[in-house]
Point group: C2
Chain length 459, copies 2
């Protein structure tokens, strides 16, 4: 039955006038239906159970693409396809750590993406503690020769996720700074918010001018323990690290695309994104199987009620976590495609609490309609301008696109994000349904509008 949906939807469209279709896509009605959704959870459950972790460039990610194609076809979407691309690939190896003196004990850590390697037998060195990234940056170049730099500071939970931007640099650029200072390796306190022995990975970036050093994140309890050791020891604290990740060269990744064809192909399409890949430690439920589930369930709900005016394109991006390779590949491949607006779901599955916009003047009445339609879901609208999620920012920038962001509550996001604890059990199906309802509402409005979304040229 499922494979028959597309032809039927197409056929149905022939029998309805535009007005009837618009009525069929009544936002309030679809919102109510979407509050009963089970598809978003089903997708998240399937992907995390049947594939699990799916690091960009790996065989597991390839299995995830095949899974996605099967799923999207079975749901009746059109033009389901993989758009492959190549990208340099880094994979995790052994990772152990122990304090060797004066308080011997093992510590839990995980390598950061792009981390260099220790020798197979490990590296033992004195730990030099810095309470902030600025304190590390302030020491002279070359002054940390033979030392393990250790930066440890807290990060608070924040609903809008802004703390991650504020405290992320210790991970993004800390190891590069430590390498410049001559350090043999760097360990950081996980850029996360959960007091669990599960460290928070993520990419770090080395400039071409330095040789990547081993770089890892300690779990928060371990970082606090190491800091206490440094503070109470009468002698330097020594640590042994074994980190053996590898660069395995160019590997194939790919984007998965699917569409709900619009009645008027001359109108620019709506692009809705999530990312298919995940970090390798968890099963990537919150980050970002949930986003694929939410956006796909909303598009499917629209499709069930007849053909929308504009084409809706689903974009399940590949290799997001490891450097936004899928987003760049999409922009390269689709630079000539006319997009009206781009949106993404990539911040877990907790409730949407605010909608943000970046729309041209002509779309202001539509904005008011959206705000009103989302109000029953408890979604406010007083926030900064929309900027799009990570996988659509490239095309937004290249084509100067309009954007709408359905901001999810990120209070517990960094308890889970990039950790082994990002698993299906963290999804609250009730909150997830509110997401599907919000997305369905917005899609029902924008995909049936012929307003001109062209943004004013940037100065």
């Amino acid at each position: 039955m499922k494979t028959l949906i597309t032809p039927l939807a197409g056929a149905t469209a022939l029998f309805f006038s535009s007005a009837a279709l618009a009525d069929n896509h009544d936002p309030a009605k679809l919102q109510n239906e979407a509050l009963q959704d089970s598809l978003a959870f089903e997708i998240t459950e399937g992907l995390t159970t049947e594939v699990g972790p799916r690091l960009g460039g790996t065989e597991a990610e390839a299995r995830a693409r095949d899974w996605a194609v099967r799923k999207l076809n079975s749901l009746g979407f059109d033009n389901v396809r993989i758009e492959p691309f190549n990208m340099p690939t880094w994979v995790r190896g052994t990772e152990t750590a122990e304090v060797t003196s004066p308080f011997p004990q093992k510590l839990k850590l995980t390598a950061l993406g792009n981390s260099g390697s220790t020798p197979p037998e490990g590296l033992e060195a004195e730990v030099r503690f810095f309470p902030t990234l600025a304190a590390l940056a302030a020491v002279p170049d070359g002054s940390l020769k033979g030392k393990i730099a250790f930066v440890s500071h807290q990060m608070m939970r924040s609903q809008d996720g802004s703390s991650y931007g504020a405290f992320g640099p210790v991970r993004f650029i800390g190891p590069n700074i430590a390498a410049r200072k001559g350090a043999s390796a760097m360990v950081i306190r996980s850029v996360g918010t959960a007091y669990r022995r599960n460290p928070h990975t993520g990419n770090t970036n080395f400039s071409d001018r330095v040789t990547p050093i081993p770089a890892a994140a300690l779990s928060i309890p371990d970082a606090e323990n190491l800091r206490r050791m440094v503070e109470r020891a009468d002698e330097p604290v020594k640590m042994k690290l074994v980190l053996t990740p590898q660069n395995i060269g160019e590997q194939e990744s790919g984007n998965v695309i699917a569409e709900v064809p619009g009645r008027d192909p001359s109108l620019p399409m709506i692009l809705i994104a999530c990312h298919l890949d995940s970090w390798d430690l968890g099963t990537g439920a919150f980050d970002d199987a949930a986003g694929c589930g939410i956006t796909t369930a909303a598009a499917k709900k629209i499709m069930e009620h007849g053909q929308p005016l504009r084409t809706i394109r689903l974009f399940w991006a590949g290799a997001e976590e490891v450097g936004l390779w899928g987003a760049r590949a999409y922009t390269e491949a689709h630079g000539e495609t006319r997009h009206a607006i781009a949106m993404e779901s990539d911040f877990g599955a907790d409730k949407v609490w605010r909608v943000e916009f970046n729309l041209p003047e002509a779309a202001q009445p539509l904005r008011e309609k959206i705000v009103e339609a989302l109000a029953p879901l408890g979604i406010g609208s007083l926030g900064p301008p929309a900027s799009g999620g990570p996988d659509v920012r490239s095309i937004i920038s290249a084509q100067n696109l309009a954007a709408i962001d359905l901001q999810q509550d990120g209070t517990r996001y960094f308890d889970l994000h990039h950790t082994p604890d990002d698993t299906l059990d963290k999804i609250d199906p009730e909150q997830m349904r509110q997401n599907v309802a919000a997305w369905t509402t917005v899609l029902s409005i924008i995909a049936n509008s012929d307003v001109d979304f062209t943004m004013p040229a940037k100065e």
Copy 2:
């Protein structure tokens, strides 16, 4: 200064009459002082930071004993000593698991204490799922040949910890049953309550008639994932296990003893216990550095205010987790010592919510005094009879001793117990102080009473 406390306390005793001393140990006054305590946390912090994990029989546990002796001496206790004993010792090896088909992915698990080993290259076999231990027990002996038995059922949080007793058998005896059925290995869902990728270890016991099989606990998210795989797979789920723990033979462990000498050595002593060893995955903050901190801080508070009537003996037991070896060694060594009453703190550091008693008729007025004195701390008294903690049950049983239990709130105990997440950050200093206040209150009453605690002979 610290080492001078004992002689001073002794000297002080000469100048006070018994009445003056009793006044010095006024329960309400000491309770208020104990609510400002920082010693319990200091001990917990020191032991978890400077020693960390300390599995019974290992070199780390020996370092913990040395740490304890230094600490207890520096606090001014009397007769501080190690009482060594030998015990068979099991140590963890490599532990990895992966589903190999039809949904390949790694799973997180940890070997149970006394687990057998797989070959170094691992063991791959079909998973046979059972929703309960009874379902496993119901299959014929020998029927699981070449299979990995998998039992997975939930356990609810409970304030009094009773769910652990109800659901613990899957760990305590499940692998022995699976071995009898012919299984190659057994995996269970962790007997714990936290949705984290950190499994819950603990001992399992094999009878002499079966050869121990590899036995491990999956983290709860992994157990749920494996169960979903079994339920959705069209073919048997296969799993590869690498578990290489070893029995390393008889090793030395030991109990650490310290005393606050009483004014009347002819009166039977008060025994207060905790255990010094921990499981190897966490730093043993909740289980049970906290118990040592709480009981020691209370005894120290009594000591600071002059000599009590009865001797208070601190008993930091060795090798509790791996089979109550310290408790047995204590009973063997001190079977002739007259004890009045035995108490233990071994259930974390959250607030005491109930006091339980097992006292002779003669001590009923004392019981009423204790109930009244604990009421300001919010501690109720309507519960079952006291039975003592794990390290004092042996001596209670051997000598038919009275007992008082200060029951701690165990709601989050099995989120942490026996997992890597049992670390210092889980201690709430404010709740810990309430524990010290409760213990100080009880000690101030019972250690200054000459009531006869002799229990009526058992039938």
